[in-house]
Amino acid sequence: MFESLTSRFSGAFSSLRSKGKISSSDIETTCQEIRQALLESDVALSVVEDFIADIRQKSLGALPTLQSGTNQANAIFEIVNASLIEILGGQARRVRFAKNPPTVIMLAGLQGAGKTTLAGKLAKFYAEQGNTPLLVASDLQRPNAVTQLQVVGESVNVPVFAPEPGNGRGNPVKVAKDGIEFAKSKMYNMVIVDTAGRLGVDEDLMKQASDIRDAINPDEILFVVDAMIGQDAVRTSQAFLDGVGFDGVVLTKLDGDARGGAALSIASMTKRPIMFASTGEKLHEFDVFYPERMASRILGLGDVATLAEQAKKAFDTDTSAKLEAKFASGEDFTLEDFLDQLQAMSKMGNMSKLLGMLPGAGQMKKQIENFDEGEIVRTTAIVQSMTPTERRDPKVLNGSRRARIALGSGRKVSDVNNLVDRFTAAQKMMKQVRNGGMPAGMPPGMAMPAMPKVNAPVNKKKKSKSGNPAKRAQEEG
């Protein structure tokens, strides 16, 4: 019951991959598993049925043309992936800028979806790209929503147009209209209008929203929706589409553990692209939405593209070039590299979020969620207490060395052991990934789409001699 969509999908595909030759009944089983996975993650039933029908047809159609072996499972997987991306909106769309500034963006959504926070994030996002946004406080309903927007505006250094105190007083339509005039007179090139949360069934408030729309003629109306929303996503998004209309969707609270469901339903039902994803309470935790990345996340492929981008911001070019070269050349990943990474990572912020983007993260979900951020500090201390030799070759770590390291870092010997064990396992996994052999649950060649299989060294262990003398003789012979 508590399994995430991701691990459900992983399960469905790992059982498919365990088959040598896939029959049409295997495809049916996989389709049923995917159906269940989608329903448990709140995708609307009609969307699920369409999706399943689509992939069933495509998979069955592709079946006769497939070679036997694991490629079959991967081809099916690719079909599912492509269908997901298609529903999620294909290529990501960007905000359309008005020919005559200001570009007007209006936010609409249910109560508590995260509109006010999002307003701040959008303002920050566009200000950083050299725009001059103005925030307009048209949520005069919720107590102190205006104050909240002012605080948010202040922290991102964007001015807030708030002539009315709110708390039920003032006319939101007039505020929005005056805001646009104000922006024009002060030469702001972008206006972001925050509006009150409203229910799809509340006709009066929906009318108010369409009045605001008619008064300001926005270039983009963004429907802001909580990623945790359930089946009501369909009714509510339809109500907003009918009541006020929208051009794009923003998914908020994607840093929670609800993924995918709402995104799929809304994108599929409304045919409006998801444009932005909000991933935290801090005002920089926000990005444009990438359908292919989201699909990867749903399928448990990890979000390597986002991870790489984040890493780019934090790692200096030297470190990352070094690492990249190392990875490609097939050299072993050492504790020294690990230390570099740890230090860069602490610059990147929240660890659990980063780990969640890794391929196969679905299966480590529990551990990732329970990740203790202080762990980085402690782990760094342990590695720093090692000599350069030890960092390069952890095999030399005997008992007395480990005791010394524990003492030096203020940890227990068992902590040191733990780190070394985990590091060895990770090293092994990376080797496997590079060699194209995936850790269980990952399709070959998919986990790291950008990773070329060049210079993959032959695994020497594979050539090791058999323990059985007869067999060994045979091998050597």
Partner: protein, 278 residues
């Protein structure tokens, strides 16, 4: 009349329905957010129902899935201490205000603690409510330690011998272990002054199956004793709360149905279940 009622009308007095009817019923059950597991259970049960009172029979099956724990709000002699928790944007602050208003109208003295020191202007939001309702709001600095605000509030409530003391907390996603630890700390610190009698988790009625996970993890860290199902005035039916009752045994205690302080009532099983089927 909802799809479900139409369906019931259709099957009354017959046991001969087509697969299309079952698909329709499944659709209806799923769309109330009870989740695929409960939906399947209800569907299987419905398939056995043949009598004229199919609707009653189904209501009974669904009612059986409610928690065996009492759905009555907890009150104790002396100060009843209530902590309100939940993920972001479910309506915690509004629920705190509504609770305060409810108790005030019932002749109780109430003290509130503005423990959401994180979200911009959340403290002001609660203070505005406090002025409207006429109850004391204890607050600290924005970005201050929520545990210390709650502690001050608890001491104040004790000293003034208030009947009810309610702590608002910042919204937090349940998968952020550091924030969950902070919440557990608030509880621990308050309990140095007086025990927390009730921990209410606010679940937004629009929430899907993720609500289960929310309830599970919040319970692990602060022992949730009841659910406030908020925003039930929209088109969402809040079926995930039934899944929470069935799966985790946590009772729904309050229902929120609007933005005014009066839009709030103790849980009523019958109208909730009927609402799911509407």
């Amino acid at each position: 009349m909802g799809l479900f009622s139409k369906f019931i009308a259709k099957i009354k007095g017959t046991n001969d329905f087509s697969p299309a009817d079952w698909a329709e019923l499944e659709q209806e059950l799923l769309s109330s957010d009870v989740g695929p597991k409960l939906a399947k259970e209800f569907l299987d049960a419905a398939k056995k129902v043949k009598s004229d009172n199919a609707e009653e029979a189904l209501i009974e099956i669904m009612t059986q899935n409610l928690s065996k724990s009492s759905h009555e709000p907890i009150t104790v002699n002396g100060t009843t201490t209530i902590m309100v928790v939940g993920v972001n944007g479910t309506g915690k602050t509004t629920s705190v205000a509504k609770l305060a208003s409810y108790y005030k109208r019932n002749g109780k003295s109430v003290v509130l603690a503005a423990g959401d020191t994180f979200r911009a202007a959340a403290v002001d939001q609660l203070k505005t409510w406090g002025e409207r309702i006429g109850v004391l709001v204890i607050s600290g600095k924005e970005n201050g330690d929520p545990a210390s605000v709650a502690f001050d509030g608890a001491q104040n409530a004790q000293k003034s011998q208030s009947d009810v003391f309610i702590i608002d907390t910042a919204g937090r996603l349940h998968n952020k272990s550091d924030l969950m630890a902070e919440l557990a700390k608030v509880k621990r610190v308050v309990e140095k002054v007086s025990p927390i009698n009730e921990v209410l988790l606010v679940i937004d009625a629009t929430t899907g199956q993720n609500g289960l996970q929310q309830a599970k993890i919040f319970t692990e860290s602060v022992e949730v004793t009841g659910i406030v199902l908020s925003k039930l005035d929209g088109s969402a039916k809040g079926g995930v709360a039934l899944a929470i009752e069935a799966e985790l045994g946590i009772p729904i205690k309050w229902i929120g149905t609007g933005e005014s302080e009066g839009d709030f009532a103790p849980f009523d099983a019958q109208s909730y279940i009927k609402g799911l089927l509407a």
